[in-house]
């Protein structure tokens, strides 16, 4: 079981992951889901921040959204689980389908969308008034779910987030007593507890040190077997390390909305980009 947390996992992923899935994961776990965004355009008031973005996020893959600051990556990510609309003046056009069902249609409520498409934020933010275990379980009571064996769920989620070994003896302490990297993994465990089909991550490592970043990247690679992951990152090396697929966002000139310049397999985007602007960005010539 310790292999889940050990640094060697990254080098020999396949074998260990097999062990993990057979021993820890419940059998009824959702198969991975896909998200298809078509012609997504987003506004804040009258300002258009994103125009006609089309991107498919495939089951079991990690999709990285890269691009300079202010190019709409986070807005795009937040539109995928209806967090965009929390800003009162926000508006959106286009369709976003989760396994073929439009998440903005009446077939799905915002709360259902958000419990099926989980999210981890840039700043680690465990709930301060709750213990570590309660933080993991928070999503259940918050979304009105129940679980027969909460203890097992806590352990399972903390193991999947790579945090179990560090906190198993102090589950009743406050979540804020952890370090930044541990807090972020606690937030990942919290998001996993509601069994989402997709996990969105908005620059999850930008507030963390390199070692914590490495652990979280490992966690991402382990999770992507069971769950579709979309990650926004400013760190080009990170995109290369963790993602299978990459979408490059760019604002052409000031005042324009952001657009997807190029999307494709990560190796192709980084090693053989078809668009010169992508080449300039990934080789560090601007941005």
């Amino acid at each position: 079981m310790t292999t889940v947390q050990s640094p060697q996992t990254a080098e020999t992923p396949a074998a260990n992951r097999q062990v993990v899935s057979s021993e820890i994961l419940p059998e009824e776990l959702h198969p991975s889901s896909r998200i298809d965004a078509t012609d997504v355009t987003c506004w804040f008031g009258k300002r258009k921040v994103l125009e006609r973005c089309t991107l498919s996020m495939e089951p079991g893959e990690v999709t990285a959204l890269i691009g300079p600051s202010g190019c709409g990556k986070s807005t795009f990510l937040r539109s995928l689980n209806r967090m965009h609309e929390l800003v009162p003046v926000a508006a959106i056009a286009g369709t976003i389908e989760l396994d073929g069902v439009d998440i903005y249609s009446e077939e799905m409520s915002p709360t259902e969308v958000r419990s099926r498409i989980g999210m981890v934020f840039q700043k680690p933010n465990p709930f301060p008034a709750m213990s570590i275990a309660d933080n993991v379980l928070a999503g259940l009571s918050l979304s009105g779910m129940s679980n027969e064996d909460p203890k097992a769920l806590v352990e399972q989620c903390l193991r999947r987030a790579g945090l179990w070994a560090e906190v198993s003896d102090r589950l009743n302490e406050g979540g804020m007593s952890l370090s930044g990297g541990q807090q972020q993994r606690l937030c990942i465990a919290r998001a996993l507890a509601v069994h989402p089909d997709v996990l969105l991550m908005d620059e999850p490592c930008s507030a963390l040190d390199p070692i914590s970043t490495r652990v979280i990247e490992q966690t991402i690679r382990e999770l992507c077997e069971e769950i579709t992951i979309v990650i926004v990152t400013h760190n080009m090396q990170q995109a290369q390390r963790v993602s299978d697929k990459c979408a490059f966002f760019l604002v052409e000139s000031i005042g324009d909305p952001g657009r997807i310049v190029e999307a494709g397999p990560t190796t192709q985007v980084f090693e053989n980009p078809s668009d010169p602007r992508t080449y300039d960005y990934v080789t560090g010539q601007f941005g």
């Binding site: 709360t111 969308v113 419990s115 804020m176």
Partner: protein
Amino acid sequence: MRLFAEPRLQLEVDVDMSLLDERPLDETPVPEAPEQEPIEEQVPFRPRALVRSERVELLLAVASGVTGSAVMCLLFDWTQPLTFAIWALLLFLGSTYLLARDSQSPIVATDRLITTLVWTSGGIAVSVLLWMLGYVVVKGIAGLNFEYLTSDLSKVGPLDDGGGVFHAIVGTLEQMLIASVLSIPIAILTAVYLHEIRGRLAGIVRFVIDAMSGLPSIVAGLFIYTVWVLQGRGPSGLAAGLALAILMIPTVTRTAEEMLKTIDDGLRESALALGAPQWRSVMQVVLPTARSGLITASILGVARAVGETAPVLLTAFGSSSINWSPFNGPQADLPLYIYQLLRQPNPAQIARAWSGALVLVLLVLILFVLARVIGERGARVRGGSR
């Protein structure tokens, strides 16, 4: 510095060893341990502490203030201690400025003057409070005993000894409980409406709440007097509780709203991102996180209401005997007890009033400490380490 010194010594040893390694084995001398230079004990100094010359200047300024003011009092035949104190303070500030300007520069002097002014203002505020509290304690402590705390005034003639404050304590506690139960939930929910829901009417509600916080307490009393007491229901502790609740709502609402503003938006977003409807996010995440702040808001509300005399006078009327029921008949409470006894022209009653004032101060203190303890314990049970 010790931290830096030791690794450096270690490094020298490493260098020696690497040189030694190239010699033939048999010639290798036993490497001598490097001589530890005795590390001097460091003397800490506080850059912000007053240096000697500044202390001398401070003393000089105090001395010139006091003597200058004393001389003026003698010259002009002023006898009021307050006059002496005000002149002493002004001369002290003036000489602080002049001394610093001569010894250093006008900029330093202005800085010192402002600093001194801020310190003095704080000092004055605290000393007035202590003076007042001390006065209440001195005046009230003599009459404070077990009998005083456990009996009422029903069988005490105007000039008799004995009698007590028990009926007023009971009245105050019951009325505050009623007012708190009525107002705190309403106020906190209003704060949730203003800051969490941000409904369309938030602006209007906030305006009304602000207007209410300026409402004179006697108007609240008159209102309840007219719509409750005069409508055949008569005076009661409940009526007083209603009037006090009206006074508590604005204070608690605005403070609670400020407390909710301090909660990180990330927590709300996280809760929503887990699939929570907004009401669950508020109930399970926002309010528990703001818990100690909300307790503070409630304490401020209680503090606002507990010392009110006028609304209680109009709604509970006051009483000299104990009335356990807050729903029926006139009831006393502490401020009203003090007010009514102080107006009587005999020393025994006035002494009781002072003791009553002391009881009121102590009661408020106990309530505050209790609320704090409850708040802290709640935070600790949840394992928060802040």
